[in-house]
């Protein structure tokens, strides 16, 4: 019997063009791949039932549909501003990405997703699996010019100018050409149970954001102004990839914790 699939309101499969927007294609795919390894069987089955694909397939959905009506309001919800003392700057109106994550989680948790129509749950899942890793990208934490004027500069690659945002978005794939998600997970994903508990902290999102802002300051020490990325020493390159891997693991475990909590 011909099973007729979904069309107008639910979205068909989405292509991931290798664009250096949030975290880049490789970053988002790696995070969601590691998340999928740590999902409970019920959570994994439910995610696949709603998304019709694995998590990495739709990891950069929000990047590709951000300009299409009726989703333009997602265009500005990929990053947030941080205050000097390391907290989210709510009144600047730029603290949206964290707000978006909190709202989608509140909509889905405590079995609320069961009463929602499938297409709404699918939409919220697509947003969640992109927005939560997005705020973990260190360069997605923007600091106001007044408090941190020294953070506004560009770096170089083989002499040519390169934006900080572009470089740090692709940092998980830095010095790792041709790696698949499986290889990346095998190399990087080796945390003990105790370390995971410290990262997740029982889903306390405010702790997460303060930790993210603390890490975000470190990138300005590693890649100083006008440093040529191609000619960095191996020790420096390792510093870049270590920071990137740390943030990727945090994003993956926290997303796994949230999804396991929703699909109990």
């Amino acid at each position: 019997m011909k099973k007729i699939s979904i069309l107008i309101f639910a979205l068909v499969a989405i292509l991931g063009v290798q664009s250096a927007k949030a975290w880049g294609g490789f970053g988002h795919g790696a995070i969601t791949y590691i998340t999928e390894q740590h999902l409970t069987p019920t959570a994994k089955a439910e995610c696949r039932r709603y998304l019709n694909h694995t998590l990495p397939w739709h990891a950069s959905w929000m990047d590709h549909w951000r300009a299409v009506p009726p989703y333009q309001k997602l265009d500005k919800l990929h990053s947030f501003t941080a205050t000097a003392d390391g907290d989210v700057n709510w009144d600047s109106g730029k603290g949206k990405a964290v707000n978006l994550v909190k709202k989608t989680i509140k909509k889905l948790e405590n079995d609320k997703y069961k009463s929602l129509p499938d297409s709404v749950v699918r939409y919220n899942l697509l947003v969640l699996i992109h927005a939560l890793p997005d705020i973990h990208c260190p360069v997605h934490v923007s600091f106001s010019k007044k408090e941190f004027p020294q953070y506004k500069y560009t770096i170089r690659k083989n002499g040519k100018k390169l934006k900080m945002h572009k470089f740090w978005d692709a940092s998980p794939g830095f010095t790792r050409e041709g790696w698949t998600y499986e290889k990346y997970a095998a190399e990087v994903d080796n945390l003990k149970r105790g370390a995971v508990k410290k990262i997740v902290k029982k889903g306390n999102i405010d702790y997460w954001t303060r930790d993210i802002v603390k890490q975000a300051h470190r990138i300005y020490d590693i890649t100083t102004p006008n440093i040529d990325v191609a000619k960095m020493s191996d020790k420096k390159k390792k510093e870049v990839t270590d920071l990137a891997d740390e943030q990727v693991l945090k994003a993956a475990y926290r997303l796994a914790y949230v999804l396991n909590g929703i699909f109990k």
Binding site: I8, A67, V68, P69, P70, Q72
Partner: protein
């Protein structure tokens, strides 16, 4: 017998599909008057009465031109590069709406006829700025006038690979493009189902935000629809839900304006 046949054939061909064309605009106004607070409803009933046909077409009528001499440009929303309203003088929908709203807000100190005309100007122009064909963006030259483009219509049976000719104004104003025959009342019922409980979300913001929002959607489609462009038919079909949604937004935002008087 022959004369009657000829006459009825003539009648059928002359009668343009005018009555149906405004069914969605009419529905937007009917829906707006249902979503406003009781005070505003009394206010509208007092000044507008019941039928909306002539309200929607007021700005095109001779009477409107005598009171506020204007030209065709008043239906258009002129936006600059970063989608903010350009104050082009009195022949601009944004400026006309603001002026009319001042009169409507101070309705106590104006005569009945003046307020009625202002209210009908607001209704007509609020619906007009929600047609993406009426939005003129400064740095997009081909948005300043109507143009024709080509697309490949797959729904026309087995026609050999022929490209269809169509006009931007027809697409920009088709309000969902679904079959004719909807009366204003029935389309308003359709829109209430579509709206559901999203009135607060649809009627947020000020007139400036709404202009920028519509401008962004228009700019998006004007990047594909250009004079003599050859547009893919899938893009052509997917504009229908967006234009429908804009007409529902028009009614919610009109209701928000009317509610604003009595806040």
């Amino acid at each position: 017998m022959k004369k009657i046949l000829l006459f009825s054939a003539f009648v059928l061909s002359v009668l343009t599909a005018n009555a149906w064309a405004i069914s969605s605009e009419e529905a937007a106004v009917i829906l707006a008057t249902r979503n406003i607070c009781p005070k505003a409803q009394k206010f509208v009933k007092k000044y507008l009465g019941k039928t909306f046909d002539d309200d929607i077409r007021y700005i095109y009528s001779k009477e409107a031109r005598q009171i506020v001499p204007h030209n065709r440009e008043i239906h258009y929303l002129h936006l600059d590069k970063n989608l903010q309203p350009m104050n082009v003088g009195k022949n601009d929908a944004y400026v006309a709406i603001e002026k009319a709203m001042e009169v409507v807000r101070a309705y106590k100190s104006h005569s009945k006829i003046v307020v009625t005309r202002a209210l009908r100007t607001v209704i007509c122009l609020m619906v007009d700025i929600h047609h993406i064909a009426n939005i003129r963006i400064e740095n997009i030259p081909h948005s300043q006038r109507d143009f024709s483009y080509k697309y490949h219509s797959t729904e026309v049976g087995k026609k050999k690979d022929k490209l269809e000719e169509a006009n931007w104004s027809k697409l920009g104003k088709n309000c969902g493009g679904y079959p004719r025959g909807f009366s204003g009342e029935w389309r308003a019922y359709d829109m209430t189902i579509y709206l559901g409980d999203r009135f607060a979300e649809y009627s947020k913001g000020t007139l400036k935000d709404w202009a920028a929002d519509n401008g962004a959607i228009a700019a998006r489609y004007l990047a594909i629809y250009k004079p003599n462009a050859v547009v893919s038919c899938l893009d052509h079909k997917y504009t229908d839900p967006v234009t429908y949604d804009l007409m529902v937004k028009a009614s919610c935002r009109l209701a928000a304006l009317l509610n604003g008087i009595f806040k």
